[in-house]
């Protein structure tokens, strides 16, 4: 029996299916984990504008705290409305590259190039300082990248440089223990750039220059690690930002691949969002991300000097 080479129905299926297959096939082109909801932010040094923002955190009221290359900590609503801002005391040696919120809603600023952690009230009042001395002794720091608090009020401070390590401090800010070291072996780090903590008090660390994620318990015992260098789905290139959701998913901002990738807790890629560029939906070396109470992901699009919001 005669059959035409391309049946009308198969042609239709081809037309409809190709974009879908193309969208699903490569992580780079796909935005399979969510869709662009909002883009805001403009380059500048006046209030409400951003100058190469490098760190972002979100508090319980869904206010975004962003620190940029002018060493300003600016507070925005999730819609991008400027609320307030302040600046770190000194910043000639360098600007902070991390920010986090503790359980009381205070703002923890790792003052990277001053080897210390600054604690601010949500309105910008300096409450406390930890560290300030360069070195590898307990309580001394290299280039501090992030700080977070566990359910018991303990602090974990990550740093890089000659001594890539995590130091644990009690709620009274007493040194408890440390782990890590510069290297590529498991439990070692090469620029632990960001940390997040889950409901089990497991500390998730974006080991940026080893292109992987390492998970530890509160005693510094390695629970698991996963990740390899590359641009394919499931691979990582300089993970700089990391956040978790209640379902156990891990969202990672990749500086190198300029994308956000969603993983299961075991490192199975669930999809990507972004790609290199300046258009909405594209990213240029993102440094951080944050998840709000409605499950939306806010991505700090560093070299585009803006924030992009993704609905999941």
């Amino acid at each position: 029996m005669h059959r035409s080479f391309i049946h009308r129905r198969s042609l239709l299926a081809l037309c409809v299916g190709t974009p879908i297959v193309a969208a699903l096939g490569g992580c780079r082109e796909s935005n399979s984990i969510g869709s662009l909801d909002l883009v805001w932010g403009r380059r500048g040094i006046s209030d409400g504008r951003l100058q190469k923002p490098r760190a972002m955190a979100i508090d319980g009221d869904d206010l975004l705290y962003i620190v940029d290359m002018t060493a300003r900590i600016q507070v925005f609503t999730t819609e991008g409305q400027f609320v307030r801002g302040w600046q770190t005391p000194v910043h000639t040696s360098g600007r902070p590259t991390g920010i986090n919120i503790d359980r009381r809603g205070n703002v923890l600023v790792p003052d990277t190039h001053y080897f210390r952690v600054l604690v601010y009230s949500p309105t910008g009042k300096l409450l406390e300082t930890l560290g300030g001395t360069f070195g590898n002794a307990p309580g001394e720091f290299g280039l501090v990248t992030d700080v977070l608090e566990d359910s018991q009020g303990n602090w974990y401070v990550s740093e890089y440089g000659e001594y890539d390590r995590i130091q644990k401090f009690s709620a009274e800010r007493k040194f408890v223990l440390e782990w890590g070291g510069h290297g590529i072996a498991p439990t070692q780090f090469s620029r632990p750039q960001a940390m997040a903590i889950d409901a089990n008090d497991h500390i998730w660390i974006a080991d940026a220059c080893n292109h992987r994620v390492q998970v530890f318990d509160t005693t510094g015992k390695l629970v698991k690690f996963w990740g390899s260098h590359g641009s394919q789905p499931g691979q990582l290139a300089y993970p700089y930002g990391l956040t978790l959701d209640p379902q156990g998913h891990v969202y990672i901002a990749e500086f190198g691949n300029s994308r956000v990738q969603k993983f299961t807790s075991d490192g199975q890629s669930l999809g990507c969002w972004g790609g290199v560029g300046r258009a909405p939906g594209e990213l240029l070396n993102p440094w951080a991300l944050a998840r709000d109470s409605r499950g939306r992901i806010h991505v700090l699009d560093t070299n585009n000097h803006r924030v992009q919001r993704i609905t999941m």
């Binding site: 006046s46 280039l143 000659e162 220059c209």
Partner: protein
């Protein structure tokens, strides 16, 4: 929004529209009224759009926005206090007057000799804490600032400049540019910078003859001026006058006395006589006892210089790290009656301007590396030879020629040899990889480009070079890995210009990339890497499998340059990298020192240019020359020299060559040529200290060396008497030369080649022409303060006449009162479509803060200027619409659109709305179906009839099948009466009709072969 037409004459074509209508009505007479009207309407639109497109219709939009550019005078005549007040004024004016709702923009341009954009025009309340841009403050070029402002204005807004200046321009024509701005619709507001003029004392000039003979007495005159302030009575000013005489490296106070300056001009003179031939600078300073009697201290000093002729002088420059290396040579030259001055390359000993080189008739560069000199000093050495006629001799050594990093410098240009080796078999090559990390230092990217360029220049053609930086997503080579410099140098420099290094996360990836390429370059004798960074990237992997041990294994040394590091956290990793690989570690606090570091490091790669053989080899004299006269060949053996290649120029004479290494065309040991007005000599071995040890006991050593130096020296024979006078007025220097021969007769018709070198070391054209017997005059613009050296050559082989003129202080200190008249004239110019500008000039007696308050009362963002318009060509859009309408016209004429099919639906809808029984009339429906069925049956019959006679391939020639077919078709014709009637009862009309339709369509189906299209029985 408005429409405008670039070619409005095409609109006349609209007159043809009635003709179009007339023709259309005639040709469309057969259509109904509606179709005809529609078609005519569409044709009219098509015609209209074509005419509008031909007329080049523009869509014109007007904007309410306003852009204000503040032009801030930064010349020396404006004090820092005034600048600060004006910065405050600009900040507050932008913050309070800018209309944010209108999205007004504000920008700031600062200017001195040149103009620069401090803040580009942006719609934001940008505040500048201080002026960051550095401009040359020696001049006021208001015209340049206005030109830049005009170029910087966005086109979508009305434009205004606010000139903040004292109006004392000394470069350009501001009034002309103000008129140009007005014609372009740009408004000009003026804020005169005014200050109260108090008394002023100035040293106007020092007068001495420019050229004196040894022992000849002359008068030195100092002219001082004392002027009273505005509204003040002239009064004498007491103070101390000091006159100094400076020669190379030393100065002497000639007089220091208390004087009382009466109002007006006064001249002090002293008698002076000089015994030592030298180039002398005289400096006169006046310090008033009461500083309040003087407004500008900058004009209290003046200088002048003169040249005292004598016998030949030699300047021997040696490496300060190897001081005394050439003592033997210096002694030999002194023994041969040459005056030798030995200086090291230590910054405080080295010359800083061209004048300091003038006492010397030749300069010997004795094994000194490139990085000991800054770019200006290198340029001075070359100018001293090319334009001033002095000799330049480069002596060999491991820090000389190409091995000293002099490749691709102006010195190589001046030398008779090229510092690179063309033959790759002889020259081992070097490989240099540079890693660039984005620096947070001000102008960091600029300096990275500078250093990369300098390092690249220092590399030879055979060397390899690569640059790694962070691209957008990963570490990248700036070009495709480590490439040979020779054929790619121009491209590499172009790429470097476009380089924008990113924020590199770690060093490991970059080092791994470099490692791969270094492994590939097995022929590279020297492998070197330079990392420039603030230390932010994560350190590399020092352990097994890491880049550092692998690089060490293949002999790569890494030099790290810490720039703007964030304390020890940033510097320690860089230090460790250098330490582990055997490289050097530098900490840079001033970016300007970076190029020197890179030159020095690039020199490590150029080391293979030194050729050494411990057993020794004897150089041969190949060509007789004044320098080797009376010297027998071969010369005593040497153990090393620096490889060079003679330039392919007929002026180059290679007198001595080395027999080794073989495989090259020529290995010059001694080469010379004439370069500009002077002579340059390349002596590639080191005259004794390291490679020519056997020469020290050689009887002809002194003779050879002195002959080389003497040949290179500037001629000193005097065949005539020349006197030169200079006069500075209105920013110009007038030069008058009087030429007499030995018998005091006028020398006429001389062709005087002349050259002036300005304070910036740039040559200035000076055309000296004869205007009377023995009298020659020339003139040039003296743009800045400093020393102007003049070299006038009376003819070939004659000693050049050297003189100079000094302009002690900037023209900015000449005018002290504000040029209000000019500023007001600028503001009065009426911009096209707007109103003239305003002069914002609060009373002078108010304090600065209050004056700023007063200034803010005038709104510089007032919109009394012509609104900006922008136009956009819309013809492509018109043509697109036109094409669509044309298709519509064709459609209307060719296709009958009927809406009858809508009628039943509408009727049913109306029935339903009216509440009537919406069911169709069964009888009517049945009648319609019956008639339809009859029509379909008729069609089927026709089809069958036609099919009956269709050729059936299988049936051809097959009688049996024909019989079968006849049997199968025959009942079909007869069945309607019996079988179909029975079926009619069983099946509804609709099913039957559908069956019939399917049968009728059956033969037409494409996917069935013709044989299957036969109706089946």
């Amino acid at each position: 929004m408005q429409l405008a037409f670039d070619s409005p004459w095409y609109l006349l074509l609209l007159l043809g529209l009635p003709l179009c209508w007339w023709a259309s009505f005639r040709t469309l007479a057969a259509f109904g009224r509606m179709r005809r009207a529609t078609a005519v309407g569409l044709r009219t639109a098509v015609y209209l759009l074509i005419v509008l497109a031909l007329a080049e219709t523009q869509w014109v939009r007007t904007s309410d926005r306003l852009t204000v550019m503040y032009l801030l005078d930064q010349s020396l005549s404006v004090s820092q206090e005034q600048t600060d007040a004006m910065v405050d004024y600009i900040n507050r004016a932008i913050a309070t007057q800018r209309n944010a709702a209108r999205a007004d923009r504000a920008g700031v341009i600062v200017f001195g000799r040149e103009a620069a954009i401090e803040i580009p025009p942006v719609d934001d309340d940008q505040s500048m804490p201080r002026v960051e841009t550095t401009v040359d403050r020696d001049h006021t070029n208001l015209a340049g600032a206005m030109k830049l402002a005009r170029a910087s204005f966005p086109h979508d807004a009305a434009r205004r400049v606010v000139v903040i200046s004292d109006g004392n321009q000394n470069a350009g024509d501001a009034l002309q540019h103000a008129r140009g701005l007005a014609e372009a619709g740009v408004g000009v507001d003026v804020v005169p910078i005014r200050s109260r003029v108090v008394g002023e004392v100035a040293v106007e000039k020092v007068m001495i003859p420019s050229d004196v003979r040894r022992g000849q007495p002359f008068d030195l005159r100092v002219v001082l001026e004392n002027t009273a302030g505005e509204g003040q009575q002239p009064r004498p000013v007491d103070g101390r006058l000091t006159i100094l005489r400076k020669a190379s490296g030393h100065e002497q106070v000639l007089t220091e006395q208390d004087v009382t300056l009466e109002p007006g001009k006064r001249v002090f003179s002293i008698r002076e006589e000089i015994d030592q031939p030298e180039f002398y600078t005289y400096e006169a300073r006046f310090v008033p006892a009461d500083p309040s009697a003087d407004t500008l201290p900058q004009n209290n000093m003046a200088t002048a210089f003169t040249h005292v002729r004598g016998s030949g002088q030699v300047l021997l420059l040696e490496d300060h790290e190897n001081r005394g290396e050439f003592d033997l040579l210096a002694k030999a030259l002194r023994d041969m009656n040459l005056e030798v001055t030995q200086r090291s390359t230590r910054p405080d000993e080295l010359f800083s301007d061209l004048a300091q080189l003038q006492p010397f008739d030749t300069v010997l560069l004795a094994n000194v590396p490139r990085e000991h000199f800054d770019d200006d000093q290198v340029e001075m050495l070359v100018r001293n030879t090319r334009n001033m006629g002095a000799g330049l001799v480069m002596l060999g050594g491991p820090n000389s020629f190409g091995a000293g990093g002099w490749t691709n410098t102006p010195i190589e240009e001046a030398m008779p040899v090229e510092f690179q080796i063309k033959n790759a078999k002889v020259a081992p090559v070097g490989a240099l990889a540079m890693v660039m990390h984005a620096s947070e230092l001000p102008d960091g990217n600029h300096w990275q480009k500078v250093v990369a360029r300098e390092a690249l220049k220092a590399l030879g053609d055979q060397d390899y070079c690569g640059v790694v930086h962070w691209g957008t997503t990963r570490e990248e080579w700036l070009w495709r890995g480590m490439l040979r410099v020779g054929p790619n140098r121009a491209n590499m420099l172009a790429r470097l210009d476009r380089m924008t290094p990113g924020d590199m996360p770690d060093f490991e990836s970059s080092l791994q990339m470099a490692l791969v390429d270094f492994r590939r370059l097995s022929n590279a004798a020297v492998k070197h890497m330079i990392i420039i960074s603030d230390g932010d990237p994560a350190p590399p992997n020092y352990g097994p499998g890491g880049a550092i041990p692998a690089l060490v294994n293949i002999g790569v040394k890494i030099t790290t340059v810490a720039i703007g590091t964030h304390g020890p956290a940033g510097s320690t990793p860089l230090q460790t990298i250098a330490q582990r690989t055997g490289g050097k570690y530098y900490v840079v606090t001033n970016a300007k020192t970076l190029p020197k570091i890179y030159q020095k490091e690039a020199r490590r790669v150029a080391r293979p240019l030194v050729f050494e053989r411990e057993s020794g080899f004897a150089p041969q004299i190949t060509q007789q020359h004044e320098m080797v006269q009376g010297i027998d060949s071969p010369l005593p053996p040497i153990t090393g020299f620096v490889l060079t290649t003679p330039k392919a120029n007929p002026l180059v004479e290679v007198s001595v060559v080395s027999p080794l290494p073989t495989g090259t065309d020529m290995n010059p040991i001694l080469a010379s040529w004439t370069y500009g007005l002077g002579k340059a000599v390349a002596f590639t071995t080191d005259t004794g200290p390291r490679w020519d040890a056997s020469w020290t006991s050689w009887p002809n050593y002194d003779r050879l060396m002195s002959q080389i130096v003497r040949w290179s020296m500037r001629p000193t024979d005097e065949t005539g008497k020349f006197s030169i006078t200079t006069d500075v007025a209105d920013g110009k220097v007038k030069v008058v030369v009087t030429a007499l021969d030995q018998d005091d007769e006028f020398l006429n018709f001389l062709n005087l080649d002349s050259m002036v070198v300005g304070p910036d070391l740039k040559p200035i054209d000076l055309d000296v022409r004869q205007i009377a017997p023995g009298r020659y005059v020339g003139e040039f613009d003296a743009a800045g303060s400093g020393s102007y050296l003049m070299m006038i050559s009376p003819g070939a082989g004659q000693a050049p006449i050297r003189t100079g003129v000094s302009i002690p202080y900037s023209a900015e200190f000449r005018d002290r009162s504000t040029n209000l008249a000019m500023l007001e004239t600028m503001a009065k110019a009426t911009p096209a479509g707007g109103r003239p500008g305003q002069v914002l000039d609060p009373p002078l007696d108010l304090p600065l803060e209050e004056r700023v308050e007063k200034l803010l009362e005038t709104n510089t963002f007032r919109h009394d200027l012509a609104k900006a318009t922008s136009s956009q060509a819309v013809w492509p859009l018109l043509l697109f619409v036109c094409a669509c309408l044309f298709v519509g016209d064709v459609f209307v004429r060719r296709v009958t659109v009927s809406f009858e099919w809508l009628t039943p639906y509408l009727r049913r809808l109306v029935d339903r709305l009216m509440g009537r029984d919406g069911r169709p009339d069964v009888t009517a429906t049945m009648d319609r179906l019956r008639s339809q069925k009859a029509a379909v049956t008729g069609q089927l019959e026709q089809k069958r009839a036609s099919l009956r006679f269709e050729p059936v391939p299988e049936a051809k020639g097959d009688v049996a099948s024909l019989a079968d077919e006849a049997a199968s078709t025959a009942p079909l014709r007869e069945r309607p009466t019996s079988t179909m009637a029975a079926e009619r009862d069983a099946e509804g009309y609709t099913e039957r009709l559908l069956k019939a339709k399917k049968k009728a369509q059956g033969p037409r189906r494409r996917d069935e072969p013709p044989g299957e299209s036969k109706p089946k029985s």
